[in-house]
Amino acid sequence: MNDFDFNGPSRQSAKGILVIFAFNAYKFIKKSATLLLVFAFSFFRKGTVFGFSTSYLIITLAGIGLFLLIKAFLSYLNFTFHILGNDFHLSTGILKKENITIPKSKIQNVYIKQNALQQIINVVQVNVETAGDNSTEIEISAISREKALALKQELFSARQSNTEDNQTMEVFYKASLKKLLLEGASQNHIKSFFIILAFIGGLYTNLKDLVERLRWQSYFGDWLHMNDHTFFKAILFNSAIIGALIVVTFLLSLIKTVLLNFNLQVVDNNKTIEITKGLFNKVSLSLTPSRIQNIEIRTNRIKRYFGLYTMAFKQAMVAKKQQKHFYIIGLGKDEIEYLSQRLFTGFNNDLERHRPENYYKRVLLLKSIPLFVISNGIAYEMFENWFWTINLIAIPYLLFVLHWQLKKAFYTIDDKYLSIGSGGFIGTKREMLEIHKIQSVSIKQSFFQKRKNIASIKICTASKIVTIPYVKQQNARAIMDYLLYQVESRRLDWM
């Protein structure tokens, strides 16, 4: 079925020039973003940039564009790859030539991706990942889908089993649009709201300046100058802005969730679990049970009401950029149960839940002091002498959150798995890991904890550090001994 010959050097699709150009232009803009902003600002203020007129600017921009285009063309000409025997060869570089050789057996993953531009011109991007360094990742940014699939097959041809497995694929889970919308709507918007609020707040001070300059006062001036306003009007204005922000935040997380997870599909192979998702940026990931180091199950109050859970995975030997896509949203309770058992065979959900010591309460109380001070500070700015009334809300709220943080904190251990639960009033999280994949264990104890015989345990796997917070010192030691015993006596591979 292989119509493509990879024995001789082969280039990317000619459309690749466009993709490379777009990538380079994007990189250029991203790198010089602050500089460009400064220029744009100076342009709006004075109509010139450092005394250069508009025509000069256009010529400069055209020059940069032409340079990038020529560079893209040369990169395209100098980018060839072929397969010789059991090795994949790639040569790149315009001035600095680079020849990369990878043995087929060392290739861990071949991803086929497609971003918006690549979808429009109908090409795909192929990423070849090897074990080890993140920098050894190879990216072929534009070839036709057929060629990409042929290449993938050719690269995996050394491993016959891999292609056979593909025949027993079954779609295990598919997220409907309704589920995605529900997921997006039930996101914790509070955090993103404050980020946007801070962003707008920063812009506002700059905007005010610009508004004055552009003489829009005659239209909006009354609205923007709050000093001249009555208290009531100011409140009205602020609540209108905050109301608009809430709507914007809500829509943004909704759109983001749907775009990132569009057409989310989970396929269960015999050996791996394949995830595909994304509208503009299609990604396909494969989960290999032996390489999974940590699993996290997340939900929040609203999501739980709708029966929605998110499962996130930390897998060893995955490039940083890919790592953040390793999650599945919109799973139901049964699917979570199935996946947990599929990946962590024999994981017991009904073990006795051990709780942190009371010392944890004190730590949480101390941690909420800054929040308490900040809320009082803001209240003083707003209500002056009546500032203390904020505490009628703030103190019960902080205690309420604290109560739930305490209630949701627990850990369970059996001879194979360790799991740690945490969360606040809204969110709930459960982290799970296989004990035999632990890399190292430490006990941390501060001066104050020592006097109370309290300690925390830090457990490292290859991808993440998890903490069992504030248990009795002798328990901490016993847990450390037990975990080490399990790792050292079983002598199982961590990957």
């Binding site: 180091q293 060893a316 632990i438 890399q439 190292s440 264990v441 430490s442 006990i443 941390k444 104890q445 501060s446 001066f447 020592k450 830090k458 490292c460 796997t461 290859a462 991808s463 993440k464 550090i465 030691r477 016993a478 450390m480 001994d481 037990y482 080490l484 015993y485 790792v487 050292e488 002598r491 961590w494 990957m495």
Partner: protein, 169 residues
């Protein structure tokens, strides 16, 4: 042959009973020299700012800043000296344990079967004082790698040889 007997929790070897080997006493001098040189650098910077101009924030509150820096420095040195006795390592048949820290004490254990590689590094002063640092790397980005500082060079070499041996088994 697969076996799966029940384990008596009391039979598990415990970290509690190990005796930690202290690191070399000369290492304390390196720690102190490091801090003194940082402090001198800050003093020099402060004085030169004061000399160059007298009309800035630093020059106006010069003595306040100087005493804060000095107090911080003295406390830091005291903590380093008091905490020095907390530094120690222990070699067991299956793993290596390292402990340090006065205010926040940390006991870390890395099993030999999880060690990826191991190396000895020596700074300029360490070479003069015949000291060495043993770095032990486990897998992954998140792995918090052990680095046992202030070992006598021959001890570091011995540990290195022993652990390398264990890794190749």
């Amino acid at each position: 042959m697969f076996r799966n007997e029940q384990i008596d929790i009391d039979d598990i070897p415990t970290v509690d009973s190990v005796v930690f080997e202290p690191v070399s006493k000369t290492y304390l001098s390196i720690l102190i020299v490091n801090r003194v040189s940082i402090c001198i650098a800050i003093y020099l910077a402060l004085f030169s700012i004061k000399l160059v101009s007298s009309n800035n924030l630093i020059s106006r509150y010069f003595w306040v800043i100087l005493s804060i820096v000095s107090a911080f420095f003295i406390i830091n040195i005291i903590i380093v000296i008091l905490g020095f006795s907390k530094r120690g390592y222990a070699l067991r048949s299956q793993d290596i344990i390292y402990t340090k820290g006065l205010l926040i004490n940390d006991v870390t254990t890395v099993p030999f079967i999880r060690i990826q590689h191991i190396e000895i590094s020596r700074s300029f002063i360490a070479r003069k004082l015949n000291l060495a640092t043993l770095n032990i790397y486990s897998a992954g980005d998140a792995g918090d790698d052990l680095s046992i500082k202030g070992l006598p060079f021959d001890v570091a070499s011995k540990l290195n040889a022993h652990i390398t041996n264990r890794l190749n088994e």
